[in-house]
């Protein structure tokens, strides 16, 4: 009798994990397709400014987004397209921000990866690395202050970002306050062109955790199964009162820093090593091996994603950019206190 219950529970867990894995995989596909579309539009000269991809980091990123729940806080970084989608960002928000659409969340005032909806818990990154960590800390402090329990805040950074003072200050601050922070480091081996050897001298970035008094987790960032388990574990520990969790994933950026960058500095040795595996391919093989999805099912995922992305692009391309005449040129929320430079415009 007991055995039957246990085996049924095991079957339920397995079935639930299969559903979760498939859900994660579909977000990864959607993110990859969206990235490819943005890259193609960039090459066609349709995007102002840069385009920054998450290629090779989807398994890790999606695991962060999926481990969080509604009401949590997520401050993604440059390569977190998959995590954003999993956390609830729409494809349309992403596309509108790249096009600078007035209908997008940034209304043409900021672009590409600098997007978010802070009031919905999706913070909008600034470019300065490490800056978002203490901002998530502050939001978590505010939740504690307001006696709202059970919130987790997650934010992502790269190997290069760990060298900033902001990273140090914020991780220490989170540790001092025992905040439910999950700080995810995607060690993609290069910060723009700078390799790990010129970035830090410790054996492993996860070794930093003990110095701050926080828990460390290490994971193979190319393996979706491991990423899902590790992030769920880290988020659960943070939610249960275990304090800050530092997750360090090993993977390789399978693209340039931005689409302007050919990334010729990435060594062939890395590309051929296990760290250089494409997490999408690893996940596809896993799905097929377990019989959770066959080639045609995977093709269908991709077709669905392509349709969704194409629809969003078609819509955003039809939308007007910001109306210069309607722009109030006021940086303050208190418009009555805005500086009035009433000097006659010498250019007019």
């Amino acid at each position: 009798m007991l055995q039957t219950v246990e085996s049924r529970e095991r079957a339920d867990i397995a079935s639930s994990f299969r559903d979760q894995y498939l859900k994660a995989f579909r977000f990864m596909v959607l993110s990859r397709v969206l990235d490819e579309k943005m890259a193609s539009l960039y090459r066609g000269g349709k995007i102002h400014g840069g385009v920054f991809l998450g290629r090779g980091q989807e398994a890790l990123s999606v695991s962060v987004g999926l481990a969080l729940r509604k009401g949590d806080i997520f401050a993604p970084l440059i390569r977190d397209g998959a995590g954003r989608l999993a956390f609830g960002e729409s494809v349309l928000d992403a596309v509108r921000t790249y096009f600078g659409s007035a209908a997008g969340p940034m209304r043409g005032r900021d672009g590409n990866v600098h997007r978010g909806r802070p009031r919905d818990g999706l913070f909008s990154m600034i470019s300065h690395l490490g800056a978002m960590i203490s901002v998530v800390n502050g939001a978590l402090l505010a939740r504690r202050y307001k006696k709202i329990e059970g919130t987790v805040g997650a934010t992502c950074i790269g190997d290069g970002g760990t060298s900033t003072g902001a990273f140090h200050e914020a991780l220490n601050q989170a540790a001092v306050e025992k905040l439910p922070l999950v700080l995810v480091v995607a060690n993609n081996q290069y910060a723009y062109s700078t390799p790990n050897s010129r970035q830090f001298a410790c054996r492993d970035l996860a070794d930093k955790a003990i110095g701050y008094g926080v828990t460390a987790h290490k994971v193979d960032g190319t393996d979706l199964e491991k990423c899902l388990h590790t992030l769920q574990d880290a988020v659960a520990q943070a939610r249960a009162g275990g304090g800050p969790q530092l997750v360090v994933a090993q993977l390789l950026r399978l693209c340039g820093h931005g689409e302007h960058d050919k990334a010729e500095y990435i060594s062939a040795q890395f590309k051929q090593s296990p760290v250089g595996r494409d997490c999408m391919k690893v996940a596809e093989e896993y799905l097929r091996a377990l019989g959770w999805a066959d080639a045609s099912a995977i093709r269908k995922f991709r077709e669905d994603a392509t349709l969704e992305v194409e629809q969003a692009v078609a819509q955003a391309q039809r939308e007007p950019g910001p109306d210069v005449a309607a722009e109030n040129w006021c940086a303050l929320a208190s418009r009555h206190l805005s500086e009035r430079f009433e000097t006659p415009d010498p250019a007019a």
Binding site: P105, M106, S124, A131, E169, A170, A331, H336, S338, E339
Partner: protein, 321 residues
Amino acid sequence: MSITYLEAIREAQARALADDPRVFIYGQDVGAFGGAFKATKNLAVEFPGRVMDAPISEDAMVGAAIGAAIEGLRPIVEMQFADFSTPGLNQIINHAATLHWRTNVPCPITIRLPSGGTSGGGPFHSQSMEAIYAHYPGLIVMTPATVEDAYSMLLEAVAIDDPVIFCEHKLLYYHLKAEGLPTEAMPVGKAHIHRPGRDLTIVAYSAMLHEALAAAEEMAGEGVEIEVVDLRTIKPLDTDTVVASVARTGRLLCVGEAWPWGGVTAEVIARVATEGFDLLDAPPQRLNAKDTPIPYHPNLWAVHRPTARSIAAAARNLLRM
């Protein structure tokens, strides 16, 4: 009952905490210790859990304040000295100042900067940072010169939906006194004509107001009537009041304790020159600290910054032009 400038700042924070549950204070040594200058004395006891000690991490202090503001709170951050706000500069100018414009979410944080020189303060405990912060769009910069303004403007700073850099002058902390706390205040962004006059306009702010008033008093004995304008806020800058004063006097001397290059005095003169050039009977003048780090020894410090004496000398020269 008299109250000092510092006590007024403490009282304003006590009232902000009492009136608004969204307000909390975050800074180094602000809790049980009551702050390096005692501006938060006993507040941690009176408002448990709402006055929090921070690690020595100015960047993370401001970052946390931004996160709390996104969540609807109204943090007051105390920098131990204005000089130490530079490690937090990135979060202030690139994050707090841009948040509303980028995301449509306001960032109501108040950052208190114990500012300005005191004898013996030296290069790293004496600076006046207002021009740096005023340069960036999205910030409001207040420089109260009186006990009444220290109180009412700090309450306004907390109530405003934007990041406010609140430059409180350390030299005024203990010596400047008023009979009591004000019950009404001028609107934010309005300059105040502190002393009317017809011969020359001195524009000043923060501790320099008192040096300018002393110079005006000294020159009144010489039969010269000097009008002294207190800017009160650096940003927004009340150009109208300044230009109207210059229209009456025809002469402008602008005084600031900060360094001259690209500073508040330069901005005031640029505006008067472009908007009121015809009103001027003589070239507009300015007086600032010398363009060196701030010296430690009192003899050097006393001549590094403008004083009533140097202001009066500059005013006499301007009247001869």
